[in-house]
Symmetry: C2
Subunit: 585 residues, 2 copies
Amino acid sequence: MYRTHTCGELRLINKNENVSLSGWVQRTRNLGGMTFVDIRDRYGITQLVFDMDTNSELCEQARKLGREYVIQVKGNVSERSSKNSKMPTGDIEILVTEINILNKSDVPPFTIEDDTDGGDDIRMKYRYLDLRRATVRKNLELRHRMGQEVRKYLDAQKFIEVETPVLIKSTPEGARDFVVPSRMNKNQFYALPQSPQVFKQLLMIAGYDRYFQIVKCFRDEDLRADRQPEFTQIDCEMAFVEQQDIINVFEGLAKHLFKEVKGLDIEGDFIQMPYSEAIANYGSDKPDLRFEMKIVDLTELAKQNDFVVFNSAEYIGGICADSCASYSRKELDKLTKFVQRPQIGAKGLVYVKYNEDGSFKSSVDKFYSQDDLKKWADLFNAKPGDLLLILAGDREKTLSQIGELRLEMANKLNLLDKDKFVPLWVVDFPLLEWDDDSSCFHAMHHPFTSPKKEDIELMDTDPGKVRANAYDLVINGVEIGGGSIRIFNDELQQKMFKLLGFSKEEADAQFGFLMNAFKYGAPPHGGVAFGFDRWVSLFAGLDSIRDVIAFPKNNSGRDVMIDSPSEIAKEQLDELFLKTIKPKE
Amino acid sequence: MYRTHTCGELRLINKNENVSLSGWVQRTRNLGGMTFVDIRDRYGITQLVFDMDTNSELCEQARKLGREYVIQVKGNVSERSSKNSKMPTGDIEILVTEINILNKSDVPPFTIEDDTDGGDDIRMKYRYLDLRRATVRKNLELRHRMGQEVRKYLDAQKFIEVETPVLIKSTPEGARDFVVPSRMNKNQFYALPQSPQVFKQLLMIAGYDRYFQIVKCFRDEDLRADRQPEFTQIDCEMAFVEQQDIINVFEGLAKHLFKEVKGLDIEGDFIQMPYSEAIANYGSDKPDLRFEMKIVDLTELAKQNDFVVFNSAEYIGGICADSCASYSRKELDKLTKFVQRPQIGAKGLVYVKYNEDGSFKSSVDKFYSQDDLKKWADLFNAKPGDLLLILAGDREKTLSQIGELRLEMANKLNLLDKDKFVPLWVVDFPLLEWDDDSSCFHAMHHPFTSPKKEDIELMDTDPGKVRANAYDLVINGVEIGGGSIRIFNDELQQKMFKLLGFSKEEADAQFGFLMNAFKYGAPPHGGVAFGFDRWVSLFAGLDSIRDVIAFPKNNSGRDVMIDSPSEIAKEQLDELFLKTIKPKE
């Protein structure tokens, strides 16, 4: 052992002990006769003292230590004269008697501090140095802690962790697969799993009753800030359960994590909000309930006058922004531009200022009287000083646009408290969604999702109305996970395939072996999968999943640290009976 | 919930309770007026009773239940008149009042019993049915339990579990990589990790101090019974440690698993056996110490006569098989054939029977007198009734052949007790091994393995003699894991590369970014990786790792259940700018 203690361990109680520490040089300060060196490891920082009077040679040595040198010191624990209450070891310092330089360090390309001077690109290239920063390390420690607690909870609930294969079979359904050429089976390919969906259902058929796995999944998609080509799921499945049973177990998991990891007691049951209500009130199937600002439907009330934009709209609605009547022209223009961004796509924004004096000023004063606007304000439950922001158009799109505006306003009004957590279940999702491009229904979750019993008849008459036994866990506007009860009845499954436009042959080709497995006694079952990266990043108070991943890839799917992907040797390609084709420039 | 209890839960204490159970029909027995049905789930089997007199309709229904039907029953817990002490629920049975067939089942292609009638191939194809058998399920439950206990122990030891990437970079060193074509980076490839070696060393440089991960690794090798293209490692690394520190921590892990999983207390420290001793005494670097039967070096003693085979041999040695002097000609011929198998490759086998009457009968009676043979017997510590089995030739090969023979004899003599576990550390491995083919040294472990300090000088004078700070954990002749202290000094690393025949350019090209990382303050570090599949299969008493893997692949790397690998669509290949080449027949 190169140490008797870690750099975060010593306290006043260790006074006068002879100790040895090992770690990295955080910084050195020369104060005339004394030199102070902060030594750092994963566990903390300890102050080392070198006295010119006592041992000038040693002191000279200490003065020459560079940042990030790896050193081992021996010395005596001493009480500090000026204590530092901000660090756990702040009561003590080490009077050093011996120093060993274990390794030197080049000057790092950025400072190893919480507020580093390094930009994103250089920190990615030198990720192993970025990982030294306490802020980054804490995210990975949080991830570790959450992983352990997930396992502890699920193990106690009799879940069995089963590793499913990584080299599986490519299916044309869903997102794009990463494929892996097989050398032993020439011209054939494995695929990396987008999720272990099929395998977990097979494990239920195999009678494993309660399965989970914290598992890497892969999707070859064009990347965004919160997407990575490889990501981690908490994947779970249970047999002999109905929707509420699954919700109970995994609400328990969420509460366990809140309690053990964040120290928060979440009282009572999570809200269960039907999908239709989430859309109507929050313009989103993942509503952020840390703040109210519900969407108000103004359609009926606003159509009574001659404003053609409203009268031709399927839907009119908006939100009431607390105490924002004083917004300037410029601020309102900015909001208009916000909703007109192509990602959001609204044509324009109507505002109504409910002035402190009780009067109204709006962008539709030409069409609506003060009395009209008072009625609107009442519907919004607005008070003098508030600002109404109103959009109109196609119902679905408009609600989604208002939902985005609602989040933007919450952000402006500092309502997005990162230390507050409001979880809910969104339930009663539609089973199917109509796809205009292909003119047929798609499965909103996946083709094995069970419809609600009471809606099964609608599958023949009005398939778009059928609700699924599907549920999402949403926290603070982030979809942490979701799942469904699966179809386990062959007849119902065939009906579902038919609705999705699969011929019997197509269904057989794609899902044949799973359908075959269902013939041998499939139990009722259902499950859920959580985005582990996202859950950790939510708990860490981060906006992107990248900083809870030790070695993430950039937006082009590259690991710039190891410079991957890269070209491979011709011999490797030959062995795989593969040829690369040069893309046309 | 489809049940109030599981099928393994009910006891006499539940007598008279109204319960509901769900599970699979294990079997039905019609005994005149009564019908008994065994219902099975992951947790056990419970007996259901249907009485023709009480409810003939229900009884008729029960009689029609097929094997593996999924049913839900309601009924009353009753005390059995004839109890079955072999099953935990054997004191009770359920007087059924209601039965729901949740799903029918086709007749399964083999019986779901511990001793099934299904062959290997059909069980692999219907793996989800094979997984229903209690023997298979217990292996996976053991795997789960071991995984949880590994995490519990390492977490308590302050190890942090960090997920390293699966999409990494191909390196020409070592075994063959699986590669993954990148769509976003055309004509470039990721590789799947053979181990997270580089990343765990980077995590040490990043100051993570104690890292572990239970992680899938991949090797595109031709397969054997105990190899799979994807396998699972318990991968660990520690900073600021020397060899003995690592051995202490992971001996602790092994003892924890023995205790918590097998209920065994292993007293005292594990033996640490130098590699040279393991080879000399057991003919193997993974000696099975469940039995003695040490190899005896007969070279000096046997060279004193005119037997040219011996006199021309570099090494003569053998084992003493207890009480085997009575072996017949046929049995001895079988042993000769055993050592002559091409995998073993001995030319012949010399035997010496130490008869009960004190006389000797050997295959070399022409050359050696009874007195000569008595001296041999004394050297072997043999007693009348024993059999000496002797091989001669090149030292290294002969020792390995005797090692194989030793295991074969132990097997014949029933010395391989699956309930006995003898762990040891094999230490002091050579740093390098000479490769005749390429006429240069190869790293016995990997190029970052540190030589022993006291042997560093030998690197210049006699590299083959240099011992490494490397160690393997061996249990019952199985190498469960191994590791080493890493080089963290640039100068020493360059010397190592030179010995391995790398030019500076080659070393840079292959390990450049890791070498670069070493410039920024690398701490002394070392680690270990355990074969998780192997460890589980050892604890399960199995010879192959296949049955501790939920969905294993066959010897051609195929998953015959999902029929993978398979051809992929031309569109997928086009997107990847790839073309397959038809192999010549």
